[in-house]
Amino acid sequence: MLNNFVMPDLYPAAPEIFLLLMSFLVLFVDLVFGATHRWMAAMLTVITLIGCAAITLVTSDGQTTLTFSNMFVDDLLSDFLKLMTYLAVIMMLVYSRQYMADRGLDKGEFYVLVLYATLGMMVMISAANLLTVYLGLELMSLSLYGLVAIDRDNTRATEAAMKYFVLGALASGLLLYGMSMIYGATGSLEIGGIAQALYHGQAEKPVLVLGLVFLVAGIGFKLGLVPFHMWIPDVYHGAPTAVTMFIGSAPKLAAFAMALRLLVYGLFGLAVDWQQMLLIMAVLSIGLGNLAAIAQTNIKRMLAYSAISHMGYMVLGLMSGVVGGQIDPFTAINAYSSALYYTVAYVLMSLGAFGMVLLLSRAGYEAENLEDFKGLNKRSPWFAAVMLVIMFSMAGIPFFIGFFAKFAVLLAAIKAGYTTVAVIAVMFSLIGAFYYLRVVKLMYFDTPVDSAPIKAGMDLRFLLSLNGIAVAAFGLFPDAVMMVCTTTLMRSL
């Protein structure tokens, strides 16, 4: 009955609503000025994201608020992840401005799709209901499919988009199937309700586990874990670099949120089961990612395999929260905040690495092969140093953020008793160091093949430099970010 309709509290969802409204404005502006003033849509998009950040900051009260009939949650975790998402998207937009303009891809669609993908991520981050998770996921994924194919005449890109779409649909199907089974077993779509049902032991175990497997498969696809990783190399390779950078950064935050909301908030009672599944996937991802990356000559493909291995490391933290079926809040928060920290650190490094690829690209030239990094030190010592910092950090060499991130998840794994796994992970990170250090070797010890001057704009140069400095600085003061992660999770769990 219409009479029963209660106006939901819109306040917690203010950033999402603001973004949605602004996206209409972007569409409109692009319609009117798109042909003559393309920069307006870009500018407006950045302003929108800054506005979202401001709203998120202002409305953040550290309280956990549910709204839209308990479908949407606003807590410290969602605020933190959203802020990181805005930051990643803004950095992506700045990095890719010239690249997209050079290729005539800086059309209104690009900005609108980026905004809708961001909205999808925000919904995923704030999801408190299985349907909200699915809604956000689909909004994000559909926008990303479009973005991969934005360069319509590029066969490689359209092929990648096609693959991404088909496999993504399969993954969505698996996820949805899993959700339906969880609903069947617990009688609730609310994440909180599922947790309650599990706690009281009202659910049937075999059905639950069946649902859990499909859920984990869906999450594995989003994170890009073996054996659900197949799309990653092709999509990273095929998509325009700017889009690759987008897929490789912010969505990881959303996928992390999804994993945390579904597995930890919802199915914590089944932790022993899903930890085992994640363990297998993590070890396979770390192994395959690091080994396959060695054989790559294309840096985008190399970074794709590197992303697979990095997500494997992140999952090490995620699977170490519950030790031997015993729940200890301190251990759990430590483990999950190490995973959160890893995700944030990875996003920062990934943005920097793809930023370097964009820096070296120019109109009609894609600097996407490892060869293009040869002798970079002679062309630009400063950016060679930035790339060095990012590669060292990704390899997990001390005094950079990547080291501390690896250290934190490994420590969590060891504390949870997965010592063998930790040793395997370290061995593979040693193997992985090879392909990161190869880039450094190419930059410093080989003679340049491409001697054209670097033509990137000041905005890209400036932000990329900041990015590199941040990777180094957070490595020197790792406690600052770790503290934020721990506090966030402590107040949101």
Binding site: K163, K205, P206, V209, L210, D273
Partner: protein, 667 residues
């Protein structure tokens, strides 16, 4: 004060950064000005801190915490006590002198700025090492000085011999560092802390534990592991092989790093760890025996060397052996005292040798020198002082420290002390012999350099980019070379006179711990009656006459009967060959370790790289794709099917696994 402490290492670091990254901008003069200024500031501050410490103000605290995890703190912290301050003064003083000297020595070298940057970086690393209050920073400094040493040995990187030498130094040090790291790991595992003070506080607890895997007493395992680190860095037998080869580096480096400071890091570290070493007689016994072997057997090699720098290098090995013996005899303060006097007189000897080398236009073979004292009066005088001190003759600095070591070893009761005492005495004779052989060979006798200049044999190996050749007369070096020599020769004489305060005046306070059972030093304090008294007593003892007879032998062999050495060499046959082959260590290492490593490497390369990675992973996947290149379209549509299949397979595998684990739990 905390800011001052911080400034001590940071001033040379700033100099190193400026000269290293902006060397071209600053120019040659600018580079040496900033680096010398940095070290000078550091030196002046060290003096101030020394006075502060004398006034009783000690410090132990963190200045920056990098991270904290599971109770382990990784931080930068300083421990300022008399031991630290002594090291700071020695390091900074010698470093400052070497900086000045370098202006003259490297004047014509194209790598001028790079060189200054490296030596300032070295000073920074060494200061971080000695000022540390925890094992992590100690290890950082330890590795950093090793790195700079590596860079400097290979400074003339176009010479294959230099590259060989720096690789060798690096690899041998890895062996030591591995032991060191194991020691630190054991401490972290059992003491749960890496802070000196916290570890020392738990030392009695640690003494009762045994190592879980091997069942050895923990404290012995820890001490021996740590000492293996010291053996690498301080070039103790059998890890000594890198030090003589390190002479490939420029001479100022040999003086600063491979004689005065870096190689003494091991001695310093063991002294710092005295609370731990005191708990294990086994470890002390190990230390004293290793020291004894190094002392005697390295001194013997020095007798047959003809390269002026190598003689000094082997003499350094022998002197380091003395310090190690002192450590084994629990006479830590004596070891540090000898470290200090040795730093001065060995720096004199090295820089003097450098001055000779400049005068001879980068000729290092003593057989082509002779009679140089007329041409190089200042160098001659200072080197003579160095030789006297090295031989341990009163009233020069070496006498006081070396005599104290011999006495301490005599009084020591750990197993192996008797052997050590014999080696120490024998090495005194050999020390007198090789020190004066160097002096007589180089500065006295026939002037052999004229004929030598025309003889190209072996010459190429040692000359660098200097353009000079021919038989130009040797001439005294410029002031920037001679002034540091003179300034260093003052403490080479006088620093020994501090013996009263340093050994018997409670100089080190609480920085050094000595167990009651090992208090040989206290006995010595009873017999000590001032500097003059010690000298008067010294001339009546055996070591003095051994040194004198060593010097006399050198005089007889190289001045009176210069034809004799060749005859002796011929007569002694195998013995001479053994010494010239340096007991065959280099050959053995090359054959066994280097050869073995190459064999394993080749195996991995062939098996792992070529077959596994290139063959299976790279070419394997490539050939699959290449073989079906005609069916590209088919493959691409097929591939997405395969991708989907992989996902479905994954789900099935997880499902099987999950159900299996669920049902196995139920059943």
């Amino acid at each position: 004060m905390k800011t001052l402490y911080l400034l001590v290492p940071l001033a040379p670091l700033a100099g190193a950064i400026l000269a290293g990254f902006f060397g071209k901008l600053l120019g040659r003069t600018g580079s040496h000005v900033v680096t010398i200024l940095g070290v000078a500031i550091s030196f002046v501050l060290s003096v101030l801190i020394y006075q502060d410490v004398q006034a009783g103000h000690l410090f132990n605290g963190a200045v920056y915490t990098w991270m904290e995890s599971g109770g382990l703190k990784l931080q930068v912290g300083f421990l300022i006590d008399p031991l630290t301050v002594t090291m700071m003064l020695v390091v900074n003083f010698v470093s400052l002198m070497v900086h000045v000297y370098t202006i003259g020595y490297m004047a014509e070298d194209p790598g001028y700025q790079r060189f200054f940057s490296y030596i300032s970086l070295f000073t920074f690393s060494m200061l971080m090492l000695v000022m540390s209050n925890n094992f992590v920073q100690l290890f950082f400094g330890w590795e950093a000085v090793g790195l700079v040493s590596y860079l400097l040995i290979g400074f003339w990187y176009t010479r294959p011999t230099a590259i060989y030498a720096n690789l060798k130094a690096f690899l041998v040090n890895r062996v030591g560092d591995f032991g060191f790291l194991l020691g630190i790991g054991l401490i972290a595992a059992y003491a749960g802390s890496l802070d000196y003070a916290e570890v020392f506080a738990k030392r009695n607890e640690l003494a009762t534990l045994t190592e879980a895997v091997t069942g050895w007493p923990l404290i012995t395992a820890v001490c021996i592991c740590l000492f293996i680190g010291a053996m690498g860095k301080s070039a103790q037998f059998p890890l000594h092989v890198w030090l003589p080869d390190s002479m490939e580096g420029p001479t100022p480096i040999s003086a600063l790093i491979h004689a005065a400071t870096m190689v003494t890091a091991g001695i310093f570290m063991v002294s710092r760890m005295s609370p731990l070493f005191e708990l294990s007689d086994t470890a002390l016994s190990f230390v004293i025996v290793i020291g004894a072997i190094t002392t005697l057997f390295m001194a013997l090699i020095a007798i047959v060397q003809t390269d002026i720098k190598r003689v000094v290098a082997y003499s350094t090995l022998s002197q380091l052996g003395y310090m190690t013996m002192a450590l084994g005899a629990s006479a830590y303060s004596v070891a540090i005292f000898h470290l200090m006097t040795h730093a001065f007189f060995k720096a004199v000897l090295f820089l003097g040798a450098g001055s000779v080398i400049i005068a001879m236009h980068h000729e290092q073979d003593m057989r082509r020198m002779g009679g140089l004292r007329k041409y190089l009066p200042i160098t001659y005088a200072t080197m003579l002082i160095g030789a006297f001190a090295n031989a341990g003759l009163p009233p020069f600095a070496g006498f006081f420290s070396k005599d104290s070591i011999i006495e301490a070893v005599h009084l020591a009761k750990v197993p192996g002390a008797g052997f050590a005492y014999f080696c120490a005495l024998a090495a005194v004779f050999v020390g007198g012999l090789y020190s004066f052989r160097l002096i007589f060979f180089t500065f006295h006798g026939k002037e052999r350099f004229r004929e030598a200049a025309h003889d190209a044999h072996g010459h190429d190996a040692h000359h660098d980019d200097h353009g000079h050749h021919g038989s130009a007369e040797p001439h005294e070096s410029p002031k920037v070379v001679t002034v540091p020599l003179i300034l260093l020769s003052i403490p080479a004489i006088a620093s020994g006179w501090l013996i009263g305060t340093m050994l018997y005046g409670n100089w080190f306070g609480g920085a050094i711990t000595i167990a009651d059972a090992h208090k040989g030093l206290a006995t010595m304090a009873h017999e000590f009656h001032g500097v003059l008294g010690m000298m008067m007593h010294g001339v009546t003892t055996l070591p003095f006459w051994l040194a004198i007879s060593g010097a006399a032998t050198a005089w007889y062999l190289y001045i009176v009967r210069p034809d004799l050495p060749a005859v002796i060499k011929k007569k002694s046959g195998v013995l001479a060959t053994i010494l010239e082959e340096k007991y065959g260590f280099d050959r053995f290492n090359d054959w066994f370790f280097a050869g073995g490593a190459r064999l394993i490497g080749r195996g991995l390369w062939k098996g792992g790289d070529q077959v596994l990675i290139d063959g299976v992973m790279v070419n394997g996947s490539a050939s699959v794709i290449g073989g079906t290149a005609g069916l590209v379209r088919l493959i691409q549509s097929g591939r997405i099917y395969r991708y989907a299949f992989s996902m479905v397979f994954g789900v099935l595998a997880l499902l099987t696994f999950a159900w299996w684990s669920v049902f196995s739990r139920i059943l």
